[in-house]
Symmetry: C2
Subunit: 247 residues, 2 copies
């Protein structure tokens, strides 16, 4: 039995996230359909995380177990030929039999894009959150540093999530302006449900003076979701990089 690691890029606009769902189209389902077309068998695909409706991926990892002997570059080409244009397979490589794209993940990076202008940007309508009030990116970059560290992040987890261990380590969190775009880049060993979108929403509320500056650590320690800010919209969020054990 071979175990293959696929790296994908996808435009999540028209999908109900990654994970297969009864009545909605998802990325996993499209991929499984494509694999079935190419390999003749409906192999199960294990994803590195669940992404929400409308969330995008510059780098999403998944692995499939198959007995098929197709060469990796051929599978990549064949999948790209049958997948919708909104999903691309960037690479395929053979990995060890026990590799698991979710459990073996060591580090993830998320990007959150804000189009920060009074004017709409037609090219970013599904690809960035349009937020009109001017953001001071240098100030938010300083504030965001308070997220770095190992904490119980339950204040930054959507209510209703049933995960047991809510401790995560954030390695870095930067906020940078590029013209009218403000990019939030966060690296961690894992993320709770909606965690990045709530962290970004909290920074936005600090920018609005709805949440006091320099209170992020206190909000974390309170473990109370109601102290954190709102959940920023899905369309600005990208799973940007997924890292496994260093070669």
């Amino acid at each position: 039995m071979r175990n293959l690691l696929l790296r994908l890029m996808y435009d999540g606009t028209s999908y109900h996230g990654w994970q297969v769902q009864p009545n909605d189209i998802t990325v996993q389902e499209e991929l499984q359909n494509a694999i079935e077309k190419i390999l003749g068998v409906r192999e199960n695909v294990t994803g590195c995380s669940r992404t929400d409706s409308g969330v995008h991926a510059n780098d999403f990892c998944c692995n499939i177990r198959t007995e098929n002997e197709i060469e990796c570059y051929k599978l990549t080409g064949a999948l790209n030929a049958v997948l919708p244009d909104s999903i691309s397979v960037k690479s395929c490589e053979e990995v060890s039999a026990d590799f698991h794209s979710r459990y073996d993940c060591r580090r993830k990076q998320y990007l959150y894009r804000i189009w920060n202008s009074t004017s709409k940007n037609p090219f970013l309508k599904d690809y960035a959150y349009h937020y009109k009030k001017k953001i001071d990116a240098v100030f938010l970059n300083e504030q965001a540093r308070q997220f770095v560290g190992t904490y119980d992040f339950s204040a930054f987890c959507a209510s209703g999530s049933s995960v047991e261990d809510t401790t995560r380590t954030i390695y870095s969190f930067s906020v940078e302006r590029h013209g009218d775009e403000v990019d939030f880049l966060v690296d961690g060993n894992g993320f709770l449900y909606n965690m990045v979108r709530i962290m970004v929403g909290t920074l936005i509320e600090i920018s609005e003076n709805r949440i006091e500056k320099d209170t992020i650590e206190g909000i974390i320690l309170s473990k109370d979701r109601s102290n954190a800010g709102r959940t920023a919209p899905a369309c600005g969020l990208y799973l940007n990089k997924v890292t496994y054990e260093e070669g």
Copy 2:
């Protein structure tokens, strides 16, 4: 009677170009619908050029004549509120009564984007031409310089065009690689029908050795469309900047 200059940005993917047409949705029609909603009168809008189906604009200019006294910034906001998300009004300013957005245009810049990778990019499927064979951008940048100058460009005009004077001046033409993207940027005092797309298609054929290098001037002087290359797809083309008399 006031004369207002509007600068637009639009995603041309789902439009049959700028100009109103009997059975298709166009940007001009959407704009006239929006103006009618705001001002209560269907004012005619004069565009700086016709763009084709699927062509985009980072900067498209048009002017409208109206007796309405609405302030420019209010009109901008009101139009953006009723226009589809694929069209944005960037600015509105009052200009002299005789200003004409097409006749008074001194300079236009077009951008042509190629996604130059064997992998698809889901985020650029409607926003760049996906061309897989590796492009040597430094080489094409040298070749593109041959377009600079004042010439009869009829070899680079779609057949069937009925324009009388086919002489145009190209001020600059550069080709630059940014990662997996190759950008073609051309500045001129005006462009014939499909001219940029044929110039880009010719450069691509030079890159493919289908057209010999250093022959662009000869192709121009031949005035024969059949000597030039194919017409590159619409989705990569952006009207990027429109310039009127210097302030």
